[in-house]
């Protein structure tokens, strides 16, 4: 199966301003990619290029195995929800979806069936006959996501789909993104500022900063790269705590915590597994029984801030 998305030296610049530095990327099919970066990092530019809306300055790309010199074929295989997409107020939700289904070549009957199925899927079936102007922002976003699915796409690009939504609306949209990936098997590229939703639904993360990739990997890998302090909590018998702290201090490991617990701070650049292993060996050597151990995961938000705040 060809990669869902492949870019080779993909670049976009406006005069001397580089919106996206040469990007080499390969995204396997069926993955949910969290696409992160501060405003102006180049996320929308990249999505617009690979969805054939913007021409790259240099480089090439393919989507679902279709090269960039066949933009119409690419558009047949993708669904894309632009950031702050507009909607025709005078159409109903069903008319809007039917119209787009027709633009993908579906017959009137098929387009009607597609529209009804999708409205059901995004939870708007009861409002299918209402004018879009009467929809809330969250409903419009769900309608927009439904629109991206009218052609049963292989790759879905969602540019800030939760922008401006209240927490309940954000939950609905995030749930929908997860379902698209699980039930349809589509590859999803989700551009967002909500790191919690990325951790929840994404398999991989790509962080852009000033048009350059500063991180690319699984959520755990990227989070692990954060220099922010992470912690390991080790439970020991309260009466042996002082001995445990002394044993760790001999090994230059700073320890803190409650009377029956030692909390280790792992320095940046050190894997938490390695640090906790060292600590365990020191404790066992000092005859301190270990009653429990809890590794605190690195947080994506720490990684994101660290990688995007510098410069």
């Amino acid at each position: 199966m060809p990669p869902a998305l492949e870019t080779r030296g993909l670049t976009k610049s406006y005069g001397s301003l580089i919106a996206l530095a040469p990007l080499d990327l390969e995204l396997e099919a069926g993955v949910v990619l969290g696409f992160l970066g501060p405003n102006g990092a180049g996320k929308t530019t990249l999505i617009r290029m690979v969805s054939t809306i913007l021409r790259p300055t240099e480089g090439s790309f393919s989507v679902a195995g279709v090269p960039d010199d066949q933009p119409q074929e690419i558009r047949r295989r993708i669904g894309a929800l632009p950031e702050s997409a507009g909607y025709p107020d005078a159409q109903t939700g069903e008319e809007f979806l039917r119209y787009h289904a027709r633009l993908y070549g579906q017959s009137g009957r098929a387009a009607r069936a597609t529209a009804r199925t999708l409205l059901e899927e995004v939870g708007l079936a009861e409002r299918s006959g209402s004018l879009v102007s009467a929809y809330s922002r969250g409903m419009r976003q769900r309608l927009g996501i439904a629109r991206t699915l009218v052609n049963d796409p292989q790759v879905v690009f969602l540019d800030e789909p939760t922008l401006g939504l209240d927490p309940a609306g954000q939950r609905q949209v995030v749930g929908l993104v997860g379902r698209i990936a699980r039930e349809r098997g589509a590859t999803v590229v989700l551009s967002t500022h909500l790191l919690a939703e990325v951790e929840e639904v994404c398999d991989r993360v790509l962080i852009l900063h000033h048009g350059r990739v500063v991180a690319n990997g699984t959520v755990a890998e990227v989070a692990e790269r954060a220099a922010a302090p992470r912690r390991v909590r080790i439970r020991v018998p309260a009466e042996l705590r002082d001995r445990a702290v002394a044993a760790l201090a001999d090994a230059d490991i700073d320890a803190d915590g409650r009377p029956d617990e030692i909390e280790l701070t792992i320095p940046s650049g050190v894997l938490r597994e390695a640090a906790s292993g060292d600590a365990l060996r020191k404790l066992l050597a000092a005859d301190v029984p270990v009653l429990g151990l809890e590794l605190e995961r690195g947080r994506l938000s720490d990684a994101f801030l660290e990688m995007t705040e510098a410069g």
């Binding site: 919106a19 809306i53 632009p82 997409a85 909607y87 005078a90």
Partner: protein
């Protein structure tokens, strides 16, 4: 694409108010023309010509309003990007919107028929007037649909697109307001012939007022025909350049 654009235009609320305004305007103008005719200020042929010219001019203006809003309006409402994301080509988008805008002219012409019949009945002029009006009006409507789409495709905002379109239209109408002396001589004649509007309306005048045959002054249709071909062709040619601008957000 065309079907949906027609639906949007006619059921979306823009076309019907325009047609209502057109009907009121043509009614008022026909009433004034008929009054002048009753007072013998106008010959009947002149009255028919005047009524038809008003219908053609205002009908074309409506086409310009429809096409001028077509793409810049989508851009402003934030719906252009969603359209560009579909496999429909940009040319199909432009053609669909152009045909929808032309439907405004057809409706305006249909509304004008009873007025032309009322003014021209009894002197065997109704048929000629309707055929001539339809031909000239369609050429001008094609020209203005193309012009409106061209401006709309390149404009950054709806306001700019409509303002520029109206400015262009008034500039095209301007020669009709020149004093008779300025319309004479080779320069005046050239000005009238180059401008598709003055040229087309002049042809109608020859046909209806001077009772010339259709082929007698056909050279006056060169400019409207050329404009009716070039403007839509230019609009289709720039269709591939329709894109979302850097940093553009709805």
């Amino acid at each position: 694409m065309t079907q949906q654009e027609l639906r949007d235009l006619w059921f979306g609320g823009r076309a019907l108010p325009l047609m209502l305004a057109f009907s009121v305007l043509v009614s008022v103008m026909t009433y004034l023309v008929a009054t002048n005719r009753a007072l013998n200020f106008l010959e009947q042929r002149e009255a028919v010509n005047l009524t038809l010219q008003i219908a053609v001019a205002v009908g074309s203006l409506i086409v310009l309003l429809g096409s001028g809003d077509a793409l810049s309006g989508e851009r402003e409402r934030g719906t252009l990007e969603s359209l560009l994301l579909t496999p429909a080509s940009r040319r199909a988008l432009v053609v669909g919107k152009g045909l929808a805008a032309l439907s405004l002219w057809l409706a305006a012409f249909a509304i004008s028929i009873p007025y032309v019949w009322f003014m021209g009945r009894g002197i065997g002029l109704v048929g000629v007037a309707l055929v001539g009006g339809f031909v000239v009006g369609s050429l001008l409507a094609l020209f203005l649909a193309g012009l409106g789409l061209l401006i709309s495709a390149l404009a950054g905002s709806n306001r700019f697109s409509l303002s520029l379109g109206l400015f262009a239209l008034f500039a095209l109408f301007a020669p009709t307001q020149l004093p008779t002396a300025a319309q004479q001589g080779w320069a005046g004649d050239l000005l009238l012939r180059i401008d598709p509007f003055t040229s087309g309306l002049h042809y109608l005048g020859k046909l209806l007022v001077d009772a010339h045959t259709a082929g007698q002054d056909v050279s006056w249709l060169i400019s409207p025909v050329v404009a009716a071909v070039l403007a839509p062709a230019a609009a289709i040619a720039v269709a591939d350049r329709i894109s979302i601008r850097p940093g553009e957000r709805p």
